[in-house]
């Protein structure tokens, strides 16, 4: 699939949560917080998405530290570029929506 397609809400918030390293549960909490409770990532969905995003190289899994069993993930440069492009796309959508609904 070309990388220029729109991201899903889940992917968008996962990437956004990973600007700094974060483990799975942290991503779930941060997403809920950012969207003020509107978007709630379920664990199964998140697990599948994290694996896919790692395969695509948009995020990486950090080496597991001693004494910690939770895996942490972080955004890659490629992931960041995709996220930046997506923000621009969403802005275009929102701007057009607002403009036309206002009847300009």
């Amino acid at each position: 699939m070309p990388d220029s397609y729109a991201l899903t809400e889940s992917t968008y918030y996962i990437l956004l949560s990973l600007l700094s390293p974060q483990h799975g549960y942290g991503i779930m909490q941060q997403t809920e917080e950012m969207s003020r409770g509107r978007v709630r990532l379920a664990a199964g969905t998140l697990y599948g998405a994290l694996n896919t995003l790692c395969d695509k190289g948009w995020i990486i899994q950090l080496p597991v530290e001693d004494g910690s069993r939770r895996k942490e993930y972080k955004l890659t440069d490629k992931g960041k570029a995709i996220l930046t492009k997506e923000v621009a796309r969403l802005k275009e959508l929102a701007d057009n929506g607002e403009r036309i609904l206002k009847g300009e």
């Binding site: 899903t8 379920a42 697990y47």
Partner: protein, 168 residues
């Protein structure tokens, strides 16, 4: 008063949502699943509504179970390819899938497995029809049932795919 009980019950594979709803109903009534066996469910007493239950077809994978536990879910057990999880309702809502895509890929996983087992039974059934034992009909019966299951799962998938045209 007994604090444990076992119920024997059979669910068809396409009824996994019904199975989940039944387990949630039991938890609502103060009986939470403690372990699971072939067609048998072992419950232990809990506060009514203390837990919510989810089940998923997932090849057993330590990393996945660990991941689920990190998010506050408890691993109850597994039977065949199904994993059973529970979570305290006080710890928040419990869902395994939060978007249409992951629901579809879950159904895909179930469908693929049914297709493989169904196809194998069909081949064995045909081969056995010509063998002296004449037991091929058992495999052909299994194959028919599995193909029917596949159809039911496919129907659920199609309904979701229709929805996805408009929503995520």
């Amino acid at each position: 008063m007994e604090s444990r009980k076992t119920i024997r019950k059979w669910f068809w594979v396409w009824d996994f949502e019904k199975e989940e709803a039944w387990l949630n109903g039991m938890a609502q009534n103060g009986w939470v699943l403690e372990s699971v066996g072939f067609c048998s469910y072992h419950f232990v007493k809990c506060e009514p509504g203390e837990y919510s239950m989810r089940l998923e077809m997932h090849p057993y994978d330590e990393a996945y179970v660990q991941f689920m536990q990190d998010t506050g879910a408890e691993f109850v057990g597994r039977m065949m390819m199904w994993i059973y999880f529970r979570k305290k309702t006080a710890d928040g809502e419990f869902d395994l899938f939060s978007d249409i895509d992951s629901k579809i890929s879950h159904l895909d996983k179930i469908g693929k497995l049914l297709g493989i087992i169904g196809g194998a039974n069909l081949l064995i059934g045909i081969a056995n029809t010509f063998s002296p034992a004449r037991l091929g009909w058992i495999n052909l019966l299994c194959a028919t049932l599995l193909m029917y299951s596949l159809g039911r799962i496919h129907g659920k998938k199609e309904a979701l795919e229709k929805e996805r045209i408009l929503h995520e």
